[in-house]
């Protein structure tokens, strides 16, 4: 029998290994975090306050491109209507938060993960500037050739400067190099509030990334190369509200990046996240009395997955409940371990798991406190009901009702005291708590207070242990990436199911045998 169990356990582990192997090799899933991958998690927090009228916030959202993968996006709508739409000319992805009447403060949250790659381009040396740019490029590129309000590419001064810089040269890569060098060398960098336009930058020769880029774009357009601004974020582990802009020129069929501020010529490093194209703003809003935003950026551990048979394909808001489900077998494993190897008594098998899951939402200390309060008052109520001789089922129902009243009362009190996360105690397993109260009372009457206390302490011990194991972040990441690991959990449970050794508490229970043995010798 044992051999069959070991074989089955081995088979399960092998199956899990094979499935994970297939995923890694064919699904492109990555087993471990490597810094070279440049995975980031970005949370954007937007604090707004309304004026008591119609309010609208528009923000450009990052888009999936060959060099940047966006995944695990999560939107918090803050009770506003939320929609996403794509712009036609720029192709920007816009998120809109709207409210018909906004008269209080809200916090909008948008978070996503991204994997970035660096990109470098080689400009063909024999490529020459077209004689007639308007005729040379298709209709959809025309907006990137024309002058705009802040990019005055047709200004006579601009034309004059361009001639001075490039002379008679017609080769694209030389022209671009000269324009780039002019902006890098002649325009001094200085961070400022509100960027200058191209003309002003040219006059003052001092600008931030916005002014520098506008000048570069203006000169490129004047030379007859479609050019546009790109806005984005420079990634590092930080909290910041500064975005960055650079330029993109259309050269022989592709958009080639140029960053004059940080001196990247036809190259984009792997910590640049693109958010929008064109000379636009990251955020536009209407009807707000206050707006502030910041990005919180940190390195991401979970690799992106492009596999139709993985949990990643589920909609984002379902993923969190799946993560929740994945933890239940882990909790069951902890409970099984404690019961078969240590011999700890608990109230019911699944109570510790559900309690641990609830503690994860509330935080351990407050969770234990709330549980203690609920069980204590439930137990007193149960005593009162017992003296009134209430039948079992109605009595249980009364206790459930009381538990719920209590939890609601605690919610209101905690909210007024400013403890938001207590609200999660609505996740408390009410029915299980009710049964725990009932069992506690019965054990207390039948087996004594000590036995009741022991089982209670066991339940808390096991649920705290399960809580700490469920808190391991790597466990979440790996379980979600490879739910096949549950087969390994099953294999471990099978082995525990054939564990015939002593429970640790039995060594304590049989400790008196030492005495018996000593008597033998005497």
């Amino acid at each position: 029998m044992n051999r069959k169990v070991y074989l089955l356990a081995f088979f399960l582990v092998a199956l899990a290994a094979a499935l994970i192997g297939i995923k890694v090799i064919h699904g492109g899933q990555v087993v471990s975090y490597t810094p070279a991958q440049h995975l980031w998690r970005v949370s954007m927090i937007l604090n707004i306050a309304g004026q008591g009228a119609r309010a609208k916030v528009r923000m450009t959202l990052p888009k999936k491109t060959p060099r940047q993968i966006i995944y695990n996006e999560h939107f918090e709508d803050a009770q506003m209507s939320f929609s996403i739409s794509d712009r036609t000319v720029t192709g920007n992805r816009m998120g809109y938060w709207r409210s018909e009447l906004l008269d209080d403060s809200r916090s909008i949250q948008y978070s996503f993960s991204t994997q970035l790659k660096s990109e470098s381009f080689l400009i063909p040396e024999n490529l020459e500037l077209p004689e007639d740019p308007v005729a040379a490029y298709p209709q959809e590129l025309q907006p990137w050739l024309n002058a705009s309000e802040l990019i005055q590419s047709t200004d006579p001064k601009m034309k004059k400067l361009l001639k001075k810089i490039i002379g008679k040269d017609k080769r694209t890569h030389l022209v671009l190099r000269r324009i780039f060098n002019f902006v890098v060398c002649e325009v001094k960098y200085q961070s400022e509030i509100g960027s200058k336009d191209a003309k002003e930058t040219l006059e003052k020769l001092v600008a931030d990334c916005g002014g520098q880029t506008r000048l570069f774009v203006a000169l490129s357009r004047a030379a007859g190369i479609p050019s546009r601004m790109v806005g984005g974020l420079i990634m590092n582990d930080s909290v910041k509200n500064i975005t960055h802009v650079w330029a993109e020129n259309y050269i022989s069929g592709t958009w080639v990046p140029f960053d004059t501020t940080n001196d990247y010529f036809a190259y984009l490093p792997n910590h640049y996240l693109e958010l929008y194209r064109g000379d636009t703003a990251l955020i536009r809003h209407l009807g707000l009395s206050k707006i502030e935003y910041f990005f919180s950026i940190r390195k991401e551990k979970m690799p992106p997955v492009d596999n139709p048979w993985s949990l990643y394909v589920l909609p984002i808001h379902f993923q969190s409940s799946v993560k929740f489900l994945l933890l239940i077998p882990i909790g069951a494993l902890v409970v099984t371990f404690f019961r078969t190897v240590f011999g700890v008594a608990t109230f019911g098998t699944f109570a510790p798991i559900l309690l641990a899951l609830a503690f994860r939402q509330i935080s351990l200390g407050i969770g234990l406190l709330c549980l203690g309060i609920v069980i204590f008052f439930g137990w007193i109520l149960r005593k009162i009901l017992d003296s009134l001789k209430i039948l079992v089922i109605p009595r249980l129902s009364i206790i459930v009702t009381m538990v719920i009243i209590f939890i609601m009362a605690m919610n209101v009190v905690a909210f007024n005291l400013g403890h938001q996360n207590i609200l999660y105690i609505t996740l408390f397993p009410m029915i299980i708590i009710t049964w725990t109260i009932e069992r506690l009372s019965v054990i207390q009457i039948e087996d004594g207070t000590k036995a009741a206390f022991k089982a209670g302490a066991g339940t808390i011990l096991v649920s705290v242990a399960a809580y700490y194991i469920m808190e391991i972040r790597e466990l979440h990441a790996y379980l979600f990436a490879f739910p096949e690991l549950l087969l390994v959990v099953m294999a471990l449970l099978l082995l525990l199911g054939r564990y015939t050794g002593f429970r640790v508490l039995e060594l304590w229970r049989f400790r008196e045998f030492k005495k018996a043995r000593r008597r033998d010798i005497l």
Binding site: V442, T500, F502, E512, A516, D520
Partner: protein, 318 residues
Amino acid sequence: MIGFKTVRELGLLGMNRRNAEYLLPKNERRLYPLVDDKLKTKDLLYAHQLPSPELYFVIRHNFEVKYLREIKFLKEFVIKPARGAEGRGILVIQGKTGDQWRKASGASLSMGDIEYHVSNILAGLYSLGGVTDIAFIEYCVRSHIIFRPVAFQGVPDMRVILYRGIPMMSMLRLPTRESDGKANLHQGAVGAGIDILSGVTLGGVHRNYLIDHHPDTNVPVAGLRIPFWDEILETSAKVYEVFRLGYFGIDFVIDHLLGPLILELNARPGLNIQLANREGLLPRLREIDALGPGVEDLKWERRLEISRKIAGKTRGRF
């Protein structure tokens, strides 16, 4: 604490090994209800003319609670849940004064208290897994006179554990003040090992501690000769033929008038019997397994012989 190694050397049986190697393979699942439901056990015992306390009547539904009025003519009786776990929900009434009944502990109960207790039983408060249950009222056993000096209230019982039909180890369980007249070790009763050969008690155990004297009466628990011992062993071996469980315990009581009666069977007997006997179960279990297949089908006389032989071999720890 004692080490893993010592435990193994002593041949102690742990909970995991009991479950995985003895209970699960040797006890057929379909036979459990016969043992877990005390009414079914009683029926079977009665059908095979094996002695057990007389059943007075059964209450299956809440509306039948009103028939409890009949008990007003009874002075002594026991109310039990048919599927009570670990001795829970057993109410022993030992006398009546006026309208009030008296419990073994001396506490008095009204008709309403008893009705409430019965409806709790019916709702499954005391049963395994909380399933709805049946209550029954049976003859109240009065303990044999020999136990009077040592027992504190309640009725002492004898547990015999059989493995493959062979009585393997036994103990006397003495109620204490702590156990409220119940003979369950985990509720605080005292256990004293019984030598299978002679039926004489050995030293005792109370709450995992080895003791020599009863904690309430302070009378030595060792050296008590169990009356009807051979009859008890003989009945045990015969009970096996009816229930065919590979590993189970039989609880006997000795009534002062009726002699040995089977109180209940237990398909998951506890492990503290080892402490009561100061001896591990494993050597005896292995001894029986060494006899090979077919032990179960031997005649009861033959199985008793084997039982005595094995008990004699491993005796001598005192």
